[in-house]
Symmetry: none
Subunit: 417 residues, 2 copies
C-alpha cells in the first residue's frame, strides 16, 4: 500500500529539531511491507496543511501524521484533517476524563486549553496516549486512511508500537525482510561493479549498494506474501553475494565493526590494549562504548608526543630519528612495546599524519601506519599495515584510521580463534 | 523568499539514515532570512521526482535538493531537474578532469560510471565539491531557482558553506544576525527563569533558550534591513544577557567548549595530559580533533583496569581497596600521578560508573569523579569534583563526564593565565 509520512510543526522547518520520528516510522512501515513513497513536513499553517493532505491522497492510500495535536492555538492537525476528510470535531467524554485524571495524578491543575485535546473527529477510532495527554486517532474516508499521532517521540513511539502497528500488521498484504551486509576494504563503486548483474537483474530480492561513513554496504531486500518466503529469498541471495565479495564482508546483519570486534573479544575472552597517536584516543573511546568491555580492555595509551612514545612504549630514539614517528618501524615498536608492558592478547597501535597540515612530500597528510601484536599459541606475532588517504581532511583521516584499526583487530582475532 | 528543501534518496524513505541535511539547511536558511515552507523527501524514482519539483514550484521560488548526484544508475536528480527546468545534460570537461584527478590522487582507478558525475545541465552554474566527486549546481528557469547538492553530509555542508551561502546571502532581502551563547553549570529551566522578562518582551531581537547535548544555550537573533543594524541590536541584547548570567557563559559565538579550551591551551602554550577511566579516551579524542594540538598535548592514558591505574599512574592499591576506583581519592591520585609522570602544566583525570550496569546503592551508575592537577607559580594544585547523573544511559554519562572535564580544565586555565 502506498504510504506517506507527514510531519507537522514549525520547529522542524526552523531546523530546531531533527526529524527522528520520520526515520523511525519509515523503518517500521518498510518492515511491515508498506511502501513509503514520500516524507513531507509542513508548519503549523492551516491552509498549507489542508492542501498537502489533499495532494498526498492523490497518489497515496495512507498518511501517517505526527505533531500538531497539542493544546495550543497553533496545533491545527485535527481541524485540517476534518476539513480534508469531511468530518467534524466533537468532544470525547472518555478522553476528557483521562486528561483530567492525568493532571490530577501528576499533581497539576489542568489549564483550560487542554480541553481542546479531548475533541476528536466524530467518525475517528481513538488511539490512546499512554505517555501524554494528546490522544491520536485513525480516520477513514472514501478509501483513504489517515493516522494521526502526537509529535513528542516518546509519545509517538509508544502509540505506534501498542496501537498502530497491530492494525497495520493486520492490513498488510506483504512482508518485507532485508539484510544489510557491511564490508571493509572495498569502495562502493567497485562493490557495485562486482555485483552489477545481480543488481541489474533485480525484481525480488532487490540489491542496492550505498556508502556510509567510509564503508560500502549492500542492502538485500525481499517483499513476499509471508515472512518465511522473504527470509528464504534474502538468504539465498546473500549466499550469491558472499560468493562474490565474501572476503570484504564483516557482518550480514548491519552490526558495525566496533560491535563485531567487541563481541568477539568478550566471547573468546581476548584481552586488548591500544596505543594511539593520530587517532588520539578514538579507538579506545569507540571500544569502550560497548557495555561490559572492561572485562577485556586493559588500557589505552594516547602517545601523542615522541617523548610519550619513548617513555610509555619503549620506542627507541634511534627508530624515531632514522625512520620517523610515522613509519612501519615506529608502529611496530609501539605495538610490541605495549605487548611487553601489558601482556594483553592483542595490542594495536597507530601512528600517522591526520592533517590538515604537517605533511611532507615523502610523508604526505593521510599516511598512516597500524601495528598489531597478537598472541598465537602463546607467542606474539607483530604485523604492520600502511594506509594512505592522501586527503587533507583531519576528521576523515582519523575515522578511516580508526576503521582500519578495527579491521586489523578483527582479522587478527580470526587468526587467533 | 519562499523556499523548500527536497531530499532525494530511497535510503531516507527506508529509514536507513536520519535526514540531518534537512535540519542543517533549515537552520541555515532561517538564519539567512529565507522562509522554509516545506520539507520533501522522495526516492530515486524519476516520475515522482519530476512531478514533485513541478508541484513545489507552484508555491515556492527556490528549491534546495540534496542527494541523487552519485555515479550509480539510480542517481537521477540531474536528469529530472533538466526535464522540469527545460534543460539538457552536457559533459563538463573541467569537472571530468577534476574527477579523474581525484581518483589519481587517491591512487585508485576511476570506474567508468563516475563519468556520469561530469554531466551537468547546460545552463547551470557549477558548484565545486571539495570533499568528493559529485559537483553540485544552480539552475534557473522562468524566475524559479533550483540548487542541487550531493547527499553525503560532509560534502553537502562544505559546498553549502563555501559556494551556496554567499550566493543566498547576496540575494536575501533581509539580514538576520544571531549569536548563540553557550553555558555550563546551569540548566535550561533556570536559564529561562533568569531571562524570562527579556524573552517575554521579545519582538526584535528575539531570545530563545534551548538544550543541546547536555548544555543550555541562548540564541539572540535580529532580522533587520541591514546586517549592521541586526548586529548592533544583538550585541546590545548580549550585554543585558551577560549582566544576568555572565558567570555561566563560556562562549558567545557558538564555539564548543572543546574549541575554547584547545584554543586557550595553544594561545598560552599550556601543556596538557589526561588519564581517563569511564570516558575511555573520549577526552583525548575530543581534544585531538583540534588541528595543531600536538604542540601542547603530551599524552593520554586510558587506565580502564585497576592494574593500569596502579602501573601507569601510581594510584596506591590501598586507595583502590579503601575508597574504590570511583572516588575522590582515586581521581586525585590519578591526576597527581600523571602530573608527576609527565610534568604537563595541566593533568586531568576521570573515573566513574558509566553504566548501564555496575552500580551499587552507595555508588550508583552515573557517579563520576574528576581530578585535576594544574601548575600555578610552578607548584601543582590538585582538586576533585563529584558529578552525579543517576541515569543508566552509558552514552549520556560518558558525554556528560567529558563536558565536565573540559569545564574543569577551562576553569583551571582561567586561574593560570
Amino acid at each position: 500500500m502506498k504510504t506517506a509520512i507527514l510531519s507537522v510543526g514549525t520547529e522542524i522547518l526552523f531546523g530546531q529539531i531533527v526529524n527522528t520520528n520520520t526515520t523511525y516510522l519509515s523503518q517500521e512501515l518498510q518492515n511491515l511491507g508498506y511502501d513509503v513513497m514520500y516524507h513531507y513536513t509542513v508548519g503549523d499553517n492551516p491552509h498549507r496543511l489542508k492542501e498537502i493532505i489533499g495532494h498526498i491522497f492523490q497518489e497515496c492510500d495512507i498518511i501517517l501524521t505526527t505533531g500538531g495535536l497539542g493544546p495550543t492555538q497553533d496545533d491545527l492537525t485535527k481541524e485540517m484533517v476534518c476539513e480534508a476528510m469531511n468530518d467534524v470535531l466533537v468532544e470525547n467524554k472518555d478522553e476528557l476524563a483521562k486528561i483530567e485524571l492525568y493532571f490530577k495524578q501528576t499533581g497539576r491543575t489542568m489549564p483550560p486549553n487542554n480541553i481542546k485535546q479531548a475533541y476528536l473527529p466524530s467518525r475517528a477510532a481513538v488511539l490512546e496516549n499512554d505517555n501524554g495527554t494528546a490522544p491520536g486517532f485513525i480516520l477513514e474516508d472514501n478509501g483513504k486512511t489517515i493516522i494521526c499521532m502526537p509529535g513528542p517521540p516518546n509519545e509517538m513511539k509508544r502509540m505506534f508500537e501498542r496501537k498502530v502497528r497491530p492494525i497495520l500488521e493486520e492490513r498488510s498484504d506483504a512482508s518485507l525482510y532485508y539484510r544489510i551486509v557491511r564490508t571493509t576494504g572495498i569502495g562502493e563503486s567497485q562493490l557495485e561493479t562486482d555485483l552489477l548483474d545481480l543488481i541489474d537483474g533485480q525484481t525480488d530480492p532487490t540489491l542496492a549498494t550505498y556508502a556510509k561513513d567510509g564503508e560500502a554496504l549492500v542492502r538485500i531486500a525481499s517483499k513476499r506474501k509471508t515472512k518465511e518466503e522473504a527470509v528464504a529469498a534474502v538468504d539465498a541471495m546473500l549466499e550469491k553475494v558472499k560468493a562474490r565479495i565474501g572476503q570484504y564482508i564483516y557482518s550480514c546483519d548491519d552490526s558495525p565493526l566496533t560491535d563485531v570486534v567487541a563481541n568477539k573479544l568478550l566471547t573468546h575472552n581476548i584481552s586488548i590494549s591500544c596505543a594511539e597517536s593520530c587517532t588520539g584516543g578514538l579507538f579506545a573511546a569507540a571500544l569502550t562504548e560497548y557495555p561490559g568491555i572492561s572485562a577485556v580492555f586493559d588500557r589505552g595509551l594516547v602517545t601523542y608526543s615522541n617523548r610519550a612514545k619513548v617513555d610509555e612504549l619503549g620506542v627507541s630514539e634511534e627508530t624515531l630519528l632514522r625512520f620517523g614517528a610515522v613509519s612501519h618501524e615506529t608502529a611496530s615498536e609501539m605495538a610490541a612495546g605495549l605487548a611487553q608492558k601489558t601482556g594483553s592478547d592483542i595490542c594495536v597501535s597507530v601512528t600517522g599524519i591526520a592533517g590538515p597540515d604537517g605533511g611532507t612530500e615523502e610523508k604526505p597528510v593521510g599516511l598512516v601506519y597500524i601495528g598489531i601484536s597478537y598472541k598465537v599459541g602463546g607467542i606474539y606475532r607483530t604485523e604492520t599495515t600502511e594506509l594512505s588517504t592522501k586527503r587533507p581532511d583531519r576528521d576523515k583521516n582519523r575515522k578511516r584510521s580508526l576503521l582500519a584499526m578495527f579491521d586489523c583487530v578483527n582479522r587478527a582475532i580470526d587468526k587467533m580463534i
